[in-house]
Structures are given as structure tokens and as C-alpha cells.
């Protein structure tokens, strides 16, 4: 596994090997995630809704026998016009010890970025927490927002990894004694 924040020092006299990012679009902006986290890319399929889930959790799908949750980054980042059409793509990501389908507007390319092409991201103060940005890359003069998908999916606020028991019904339950009519 490649540690994003602490690049290993390059061998002497050799430029650091470029890292590869899968790029995709969300509401016209171009984003990138570490290609090593990507398991596969699929079209958007019908999902089975999960009751009382956050709105960005579209539901679950059957990925060759495994139940995989599907999240929509457009809804998560409060981006307008989350449409589902033939261009809508789902990137199946293997991160934070989970397999998760990530819905995006479209998948573009695989972009190799040298270390010096990745810059520290400014604080957006918006929907995307700065913690979940690896940096900003430049690609053919266009800006590429690099997401730390591992950190994002693993974060508690994302709600995929709520610890068992924290919200189990048993704790909300009042003792049965008073229920006697």
C-alpha cells in the first residue's frame, strides 16, 4: 500500500516514479483518486434502498455475491444535478477495509502525476473537508482535485463504519416493564 502523505524518498539520481490517479467528473469538476484503491468500474445499476440511511447512501447492490453499499459523491458533496443516465458511472473502491461503490458523473482517464505536480490543497471551507484531500494536481492546465478516498470512506461522518452497538436498537430500547397496558 502506498502511503499518500509520506512519500518514500526517491532513489538517488532517479526522479520519483509518478503516481497514477483515476480521474472522474463531479458537476463539471475533475477529481482523482489513487488508482490502487480502485477495484473496478461499472455502470450505474438499480440499487436496493436501505431504510433510514443518509441520502448519499443510494443503497446496496449485488457484486458477484457480495453485498456492496453504493454512495453518491455528488449528493455527499452537495453538488447540483445528480442525474442517473447512461454516462453515470460507479467506481468500485476497495478502501478502509470495505468494498464500496462510488457514483460519479463520469470516469475520464488514468493520470500519472509526478510528485512535484501535486500541490497542497487550500482549505475549501465547503462540502469537502480539507482532511480528505490529498492535494491539487495540474493536468494539461486543468485542475485536478485529489481525494483521499480511504480517509473519506473510513471517516465516522461518512457513516459507513459506525461501530456496532453505538446505535443498536437495544440501547434505545426502554425497559419492557412499563409497556404493560
Amino acid at each position: 500500500m502506498i502511503d499518500i502523505d509520506k512519500p518514500s524518498p526517491p532513489a538517488r539520481g532517479m526522479p520519483a516514479p509518478p503516481r497514477e490517479f483515476l480521474t472522474f467528473t463531479l458537476a463539471g469538476e475533475e477529481y482523482g483518486i489513487d488508482i490502487l484503491k480502485v477495484q473496478e468500474i461499472r455502470g450505474y445499476d438499480a440499487v436496493t434502498r436501505i431504510p433510514n440511511a443518509p441520502d448519499f447512501v443510494r443503497g446496496v447492490i449485488n457484486l458477484r455475491g457480495t453485498i456492496v453499499p453504493v454512495v453518491d459523491l455528488r449528493t455527499k458533496f452537495r453538488l447540483p444535478d445528480a442525474r442517473y443516465d447512461e454516462f453515470t458511472a460507479m467506481i468500485v473502491v476497495n478502501a478502509a477495509r470495505r468494498v464500496v461503490g462510488v457514483v460519479v458523473d463520469g470516469v475520464c482517464d488514468v493520470a500519472p502525476l509526478a510528485r512535484d505536480e501535486i500541490h497542497i490543497a487550500p482549505e475549501f471551507g465547503g462540502a469537502i473537508d480539507g482532511r480528505f484531500l490529498t492535494g491539487i494536481g495540474t493536468r494539461d492546465g486543468r485542475m485536478l482535485i485529489l481525494l483521499d478516498i480511504e480517509g473519506l470512506l473510513g471517516s465516522t461522518e461518512f457513516g459507513l463504519t459506525a461501530t456496532y452497538g453505538a446505535d443498536a436498537p437495544i440501547n434505545q430500547e426502554s425497559p419492557t416493564c412499563h409497556a404493560s397496558p
Binding site: 436496493t48 436501505i50 449485488n62 457480495t66 459506525a162 452497538g165 443498536a168 437495544i170 425497559p175 397496558p181
Partner: protein, 651 residues
């Protein structure tokens, strides 16, 4: 390559050693309780011996040294030079624990915990030293008890002018001789040469007889026979070991077959292999369901020709699935076997006298369920011993036998397995429990039934309170126990009688992997209700629906009023407002609580393969898992037990 192979062998060594330690433990406990025979000692000895060999091969010297000492002790026991007294059993049980720790360390590539090794070895050394001193002085003097002699003449014995019957008479003159004749080598009459000695004998010679005297009897024949003289095993008292055990004598003759080892007809298979098999069969079931669904869309003629074939496939798939699931089923004995030790140690620590009774060990349960029920069950047994049973004095005062009884039983009931932990202790003190609940600010209806009051034990705010149970700090979280059991799709209930005892009943599904489900449609989505909970389904007539407190709906079913929950609202469906014109209600029951679930329509019944949502997502309220339908879509399985606990009243 060599390194990989070694790791594989090591894994086998660890697995076998753990099994060996379990066998040692069981054998030692049997020795202590007097339920042992000579074979028990042999089993314990063999376990120690093979572990020693394996450990030496891999260079785990701490294990080798420790097992060597234990083996020496056991050998003395086997030879009758030592009695299986409390100190002996205690020391060896402690050794078993220490060996487990050493195995764990070795498995993780660590050095053996030096402190434990030293303590164990010195304890065993101490025992050996204590015994060897008297043993040394006893070498000249004969041990009391007697000798077991295996006397197998060579065919040419008569030619040297010896007569076995004379030897036997001489032995009988020394003490009480019990002679068993071994006919194993006797050829058929047609092949018998009368001048060849073909009989062999085992002589148990009882009495205070010097070894020299015995040797003297055989002095003239010892080159003409195979002779084996050993002290009589100490526990082989005349009553316990009638000499007519022919297999043993024969085994002594042939020397190859170890008694008790031939019955092994099982093989060890790695769990991932079985899981892969189960997954594949699960996929097959889905494919089969999908095929069936496609066929139903065909026109009648084509469907008919396919029908018989599909039925066949369905039956075979189901049989295959059952067979594969059966591979995972193991007897609960594997679970119960750890309790004698636990109870023994805990009883000693608490100075209580306890008898553990187990029944239904042969009942089979999914290995996955067994692994996950261990901890809750340990908690329950510990609670029964700690809080349930009174100290011996109190018991005598209450007119009960000083030794309490804890029984563990397992049985099949319908599609589930029921495990009961019963003690004959003091029972739960209702008044104190209620007082405690009030103290913690938990509302309690004073008129509540006992069953409802006992449920308080599982309340998270109460169960960890040591004060209910007198032994503070030991109050095991009963809420955790219940949560673990619920997570397995099981249920737990308590019954208690003051002064007579407490019974905790745990009901578990036989397997976690498949269930019979009723699929229902709600707002375009398909959900699966586990069939075990479903009582009936009926059309909801508006006249039967009443409002309580202007918002809770109740449904009247044959004079009974049940809470009516709309699944649309419960699961927050987007189309919640547009209620179905002719909804259907499914009455479900869990743990004695009934509830009516309002759905759009019934879809059908089918067996479904349970998949986890939690492995990639998280626990979802009201949902116990997911499954894959014939068309490849995911359907959620409704957590009926959880809903009933939250919304239903006790029927």
C-alpha cells in the same frame, strides 16, 4: 519453499497440540472425578507425548521440556507408581494452561513466556522429586498391589521340557493370580501342531510379592517366551477392571494397534475451503431460482418440457445445499466440553460446591454459531455459579444439598436449537431487582409480571451493577450477553423461582447461512421476512384498524389487538404517503410478542442465502441481513425479532 512447508507443518502442529491439550484436560478432569480408566491415562499420556515430539521437531524447547516433565509424571501414573491425587491433577491442569500460553507465543513467533515456563517446570519437578524419593527406597521393597504379567511362550516351549500350567500354579502360590488366556495365535484345528505352544496368558498377580519371586518362577523359561512384567495399574481395582478385556490382551500381543485410535474416520479440512463451498452452493441456489423464474415466463408448452428438468435441479440443489451445510454442523459437545474445567476452577475460587450436568451434547449446531455463542454462554454459566448458587452453608440451611447443580442442556426445537443454563440456587430477588431499577431511574410497573421483571436483568443500566449480585466487580454484563445472542439471530429468556433457582434459555438458529423466508413487496422493494416468525397473513379491512392515542394503529385479529406497523413508514420509503388501497398484514411473533406488519403484497416463499450487510456497510436498524434474489437484485431481510422487541407488547 522449505520455509512455506515448515509453516504448514507448524500450523498442523499447533492445531493438533491444541486438540491434544483439550484431550489432556478432559482426561485429567475424568481422573479427578474418578470416571477414568486405563485408557484415559493412555490418552493423556499420548497427547503429552506427541506434543513433545512435535515441539522437539520445530525446536520449541520450552514446550519440549515442559511436556517431557508432564510425560514423566504421567508415565509414573500409568505404571501405578503414583496416584491421581488433587495435587497431581492441579499441577497437570496448570501445565495444560501453561502449554496453551506457550503454543500461543510460539504461533506468533515469540519466545515462550519465561516466567510461566519456569513456574510450571519447577512445580512439576517438585512433584517428581516428592515421588522419586519414596520411589527410590521402594525399588528394593516391592510395591503393594501386585504385578501384571504377559506371558507368551514361543512355539518351542514344550521342547525344553517346560509346562505352562506348572508356571501358572507356581504364580498362584505366590499370591492371588487371575489368569486370562489369549487364544489369538491359536491356529484352526487342522493346522494345529500339538507339540507347539500356541497359547498366551495374562496373569494379574495380586498381593505383596517381591519382583524377584516373580522372576524366579520364569527363570527357566525366559529364553523360551516373551515376558512382560509390570506393576498392576493402581486404578485397575478388581471391580473396575475385569480381566476379560480381550482386545487389550490381543493388542499387547500384536503390539501394533493402539486401542482407541482406530475409530477415527474424520478428516481435518480448513474452514475457508468449506466456506468457499457454501458460497458456491449459495450462488447455485440463486442461479437455480433465476432459471425457474425465467422458465415461468415461457409459454406453457415450453415451460412444461423444462418443468420436470427444473424440478430435478431444484431438488438436487437443495440436497446439495443441505449436505454442504451439514459439513459445518458440529456437536455442541465441542462447546460444552470447556465447561467442566471452567466450573471446577471457579467453584474452587468461590469455595462453592458444584456439580455440572450436561445433556444433549450430540445436538448439532453450525460451527460459526458455536464460536460466537461461547462467550455469552461462559458469562451465563459464570453468573449461575457466582450469583445463582449459594455458599454450601446457606444451602444446607435452606435444606438443599451442599453441592449446587448447574445443568447445561441442548436440544432441537423446530428450526432452532435451545440451550438452557439452569442452576438450583437462590433465584432472582424480585424486590431487590425492582429497588435497584428504581434507584437507577428505570421506570418499573409494580404490577408487572415476573417475566417482565426478569427482563430487567438484561437492561444495560442494571446488569453491570454489582450490587444486585453481592460480588461487586464481577457483575457480568447481561446486556452484552443478550446483544451477542440477538446479533446471532437468537433470543434469550429468563425464568426464576425464589429459592429454587434460575433458568436462562437461549434460542439460536441452527445456522446463520440460510433461512426460509417469505418475500413481501413494499413500495416496489422486496423484503424477506424469516418464515420462523410469521404466524399468518391477512387482508387489512379498515374496520379492523383502530387508532390508539390518535397515532398508534392497532389491528384486530380474532379478538386480539396487535400493533400495526406500516413497513413503508418504518423503512422511510419515498412513497410513504401513497398507501396501498388493499394492504396486507403479516402477523409475526417473536419471544411471545406479536406484531402486525403492513405490506403491499405477498410475493412468495423461498429459501434464501443470508449475506452480511455489515461486512461492507454497517448495522441497519430493522434489518438483520440481505440476500440475493433470483433476478440478481438484493433484498433486505427484516429483523423481525428486533421490531417485535421495540414495538410489540408481550402477548
Amino acid at each position: 519453499m522449505a520455509a512455506i512447508d515448515l509453516a504448514q507443518f507448524q500450523a498442523t502442529f499447533f492445531a493438533e497440540s491444541r486438540e491434544g491439550l483439550d484431550a489432556m484436560e478432559a482426561g485429567l478432569l475424568a481422573l479427578e472425578s474418578g470416571a477414568a480408566n486405563a485408557e484415559t491415562i493412555n490418552t493423556v499420556f499420548r497427547a503429552a507425548h506427541s506434543m513433545k515430539g512435535g515441539a522437539a521437531t520445530f525446536g520449541f524447547t520450552a514446550i519440549t521440556d515442559t511436556t517431557h516433565l508432564a510425560e514423566t509424571l504421567l508415565d509414573q501414573l500409568r505404571a501405578g507408581r503414583r496416584a491421581a491425587d488433587a495435587a497431581f491433577v492441579d499441577a497437570l491442569l496448570a501445565t495444560v494452561d501453561a502449554l496453551r500460553a506457550m503454543l500461543d507465543a510460539a504461533e506468533r513467533g515469540l519466545d515462550a513466556p519465561a516466567g510461566i515456563v519456569r513456574a510450571t517446570c519447577s512445580r512439576l519437578d517438585g512433584l517428581l522429586g516428592a515421588a522419586s524419593a519414596p520411589a527410590a527406597s521402594a525399588a528394593a521393597a516391592p510395591p503393594t498391589g501386585g504385578w501384571r504379567i504377559h506371558f507368551r511362550p514361543r512355539p518351542g516351549l514344550y521342547a525344553s521340557g517346560n509346562d505352562p500350567s506348572r508356571l501358572l500354579r507356581e504364580l498362584d502360590a505366590l499370591g492371588r493370580a487371575r489368569v486370562t488366556c489369549d487364544l489369538a495365535d491359536l491356529p484352526p484345528l487342522s493346522a494345529l501342531d500339538p507339540v507347539e505352544a500356541r497359547l498366551a496368558w495374562r496373569i494379574d498377580l495380586e498381593g505383596d510379592i517381591p519382583r524377584d519371586a516373580v522372576d524366579g518362577v520364569f527363570a527357566w523359561v525366559d529364553t523360551e517366551c516373551d515376558l512382560d512384567i509390570a506393576p498392576l495399574p493402581a486404578i485397575a481395582t478388581p471391580a473396575a477392571a475385569p480381566p476379560a478385556d480381550a482386545p487389550e490382551t490381543r493388542a499387547a500381543g500384536s503390539g501394533a494397534i493402539e486401542p482407541g485410535e482406530h475409530a477415527e474416520t474424520s478428516m481435518r479440512v480448513a474452514v475457508p475451503k468449506i466456506d468457499a463451498l457454501i458460497n458456491l452452493v449459495g450462488e447455485l441456489v440463486i442461479n437455480q431460482a433465476s432459471l425457474k423464474q425465467r422458465a415461468s415466463l415461457l409459454d406453457a408448452a415450453a415451460a412444461e418440457s423444462l418443468g420436470a428438468c427444473l424440478d430435478e435441479i431444484e431438488r438436487n440443489t437443495r440436497d446439495l445445499q443441505e449436505a454442504v451445510m451439514a459439513v459445518r454442523m458440529v456437536p455442541v459437545e465441542a462447546l460444552f466440553s470447556r465447561f467442566p474445567r471452567l466450573v471446577r476452577d471457579l467453584a474452587a475460587r468461590l469455595s462453592k460446591k458444584v456439580q455440572l450436568q450436561t445433556s444433549g451434547e450430540g445436538t448439532e449446531l453450525d460451527k460459526g454459531v458455536i464460536e460466537r455463542i461461547v462467550d455469552p454462554l461462559v458469562h451465563l454459566v459464570r453468573n449461575a455459579l457466582d450469583h445463582g448458587l449459594e455458599p454450601p452453608e446457606d444451602r444446607l440451611r435452606a435444606g438443599k444439598p451442599a453441592a449446587g447443580t448447574i445443568s447445561l442442556s441442548a436440544s432441537h426445537q423446530g428450526g432452532s436449537i435451545v440451550i438452557e443454563v439452569t442452576d438450583d440456587g437462590r433465584g432472582i430477588d424480585r424486590a431487590r431487582l425492582v429497588a435497584k431499577a428504581a434507584e437507577r431511574g428505570i421506570a418499573v410497573d409494580p404490577g408487572a409480571s415476573d417475566a417482565e421483571i426478569w427482563q430487567l436483568v438484561f437492561h444495560p443500566g442494571l446488569s453491570t451493577a454489582g450490587a444486585i449480585t453481592d460480588i461487586s466487580g464481577r457483575g457480568v454484563g447481561m446486556d452484552v450477553v443478550r446483544r451477542n445472542i440477538l446479533a446471532l439471530g437468537g433470543e434469550v429468556a429468563i425464568a426464576s423461582e425464589p429459592g429454587a433457582g434460575t433458568r436462562v434459555t437461549v434460542r439460536l438458529p441452527l445456522t446463520l447461512a440460510i433461512l426460509d423466508g417469505m418475500s413481501v413487496a413494499v413500495d416496489g422493494e422486496t423484503y424477506v421476512l424469516p418464515l420462523g416468525y410469521v404466524v399468518e397473513s391477512l387482508q387489512v379491512r379498515p374496520a379492523d384498524v383502530n387508532l390508539v392515542a390518535a397515532r398508534h394503529r392497532v389491528l384486530r385479529v380474532r379478538g386480539e389487538y396487535l400493533p400495526l406497523l406500516a413497513m413503508r413508514e418504518l423503512f422511510g420509503s419515498p412513497g410513504a404517503a401513497g398507501a396501498q388501497r388493499q394492504p396486507v398484514a403479516v402477523v409475526v411473533e417473536s419471544d411471545g410478542r406479536k406484531l402486525a406488519l403492513e405490506i403491499d403484497e405477498l410475493v412468495g416463499q423461498q429459501q434464501v442465502v443470508v449475506k452480511s450487510i455489515e461486512s461492507n456497510y454497517r448495522r441497519v436498524d430493522g434489518v438483520s441481513g440481505a440476500t440475493i434474489l433470483g433476478d440478481g437484485r438484493v433484498a433486505l431481510i427484516v429483523d423481525v425479532g428486533g421490531l417485535a422487541r421495540r414495538y410489540a407488547r408481550v402477548a
